[in-house]
Amino acid sequence: MIHNPQLNKNGELTHLLTVEGLSADIIRNILNTAESFVSVTEREVKKVPLLRGKSVFNLFFEPSTRTRTTFEIAAKRLSADVLNLNISASSTSKGETLLDTVDNLSAMHADMFIVRHAQSGAPFLIARHVKPGIHVINAGDGRHAHPTQGLLDMYTIRHYKKDFSQLTVAIVGDVLHSRVARSQIHALTTLGVPELRVIGPKTLLPTGIENMGTHVYHDMAKGLKGVDVVIMLRLQNERMNGALLPSAQEYFKYYGLTQEKLALAKPDAIVMHPGPMNRGVEIDSAVADGAQSVILPQVTFGIAVRMAVMSILAGN
């Protein structure tokens, strides 16, 4: 077996860098633990003492509001001390290297780094570099992976649909630039989803995507037929180089999710979106705010899933 840098010598999760290579047992353990944390977040005191005395550093080399905030809330609900570093605006602009930044923060007794970086692989580099006992969570690296988002999506699907083994799931939109989509595809196939579809224009689907166990559609009407779960992706304007699309209006016409298109899915299909949404580009407001949308519950579950990941890592 290839060495998985996320696992310790006992095969336990010590960093969370990607969903790729995680066993179904590890994923289920995270989801089950998250379920216990959901009940904590419904109480009067939404805090447990698990990570008391631990320091968690949010290292964000790329802007983010939702992910950084939910990680911060998750760490605080575990009683950890949280420090938010918006690195793009500080040391690196003075020339400090990534690993020097990490070494300096480690010298301040960091126990965990939550890393977001525009460069794919940056969290791996940090995970390989840090001393044993320091844990790294990938909060999104380039186009590569966003494992906690993938896991919270699995939590959401399980919450509403219970059993993965009967589901048809469609991931729609800009798969090419989406680290979220990659994490979702790995998680869904590991959990045994029998029919996984990706829908999008040829210019926004990576080559070889069909080798990841997916069925490729370029036509929304065909791709959405009979699906249980529709996962919309954000059109990532900031990651696009060159003319991959004629216009946002044109994109909405063919790939934007409207009530009419959603009607082709199963009547009880759920609609998900990792956020932030471009209303009127990949999703119509009537759908985003509609009865089948579970976009806001995704955010709430995200806190519990991140609490689960942190508490499992810090204990291994």
């Binding site: 633990t33 904590v40 109480r43 009067e44």
Partner: protein, 171 residues
Amino acid sequence: MTAPQLLDAEKLLARLTDLLRPAVNANSALVGIYTGGVLIAERLHAALSLTVPLGTLDVSFYRDDYDVIGLHTQPRPSEIPFEVEGRDIILVDDVLYTGRTIRAAMNEIFDYGRPASMRLAALVDRGGRELPIAAEFVGTSMMLPADELLVLKKDASDRLQLSVQPRKRQA
């Protein structure tokens, strides 16, 4: 010293029920601690015909040995389906040993609210306390050596069984 290999759990449960009956009222709430405590609490709750629904507690997030062993058992969601504020709570566990689980359970209860009182019921008090904790209601007391473990199970006909087993490894 030879400990009996099997204890009559049903008889101990009957004794515990009798001890609790005069002590409970309309404001009393039972809270079972996973795993064994929940089995006992379910039976007590039915036998005492309590009106306040049964609570269950998984103390994994409150244990004092997280730094040593991490989260290595799969936690189950705690459920406290009643208002804790002002309630007379009776914690229920199968075996009372070091008292650390009960300490964790007390801390967790206080994160739901401030109860009027909290008392402890255990099927067996096996000695070996490491904290100043005592049970008000016990089915039986006995001293067991540290290398032995009391294990509660339900048999095929839902009767409770309690057996003494050698401890596999240092917990």
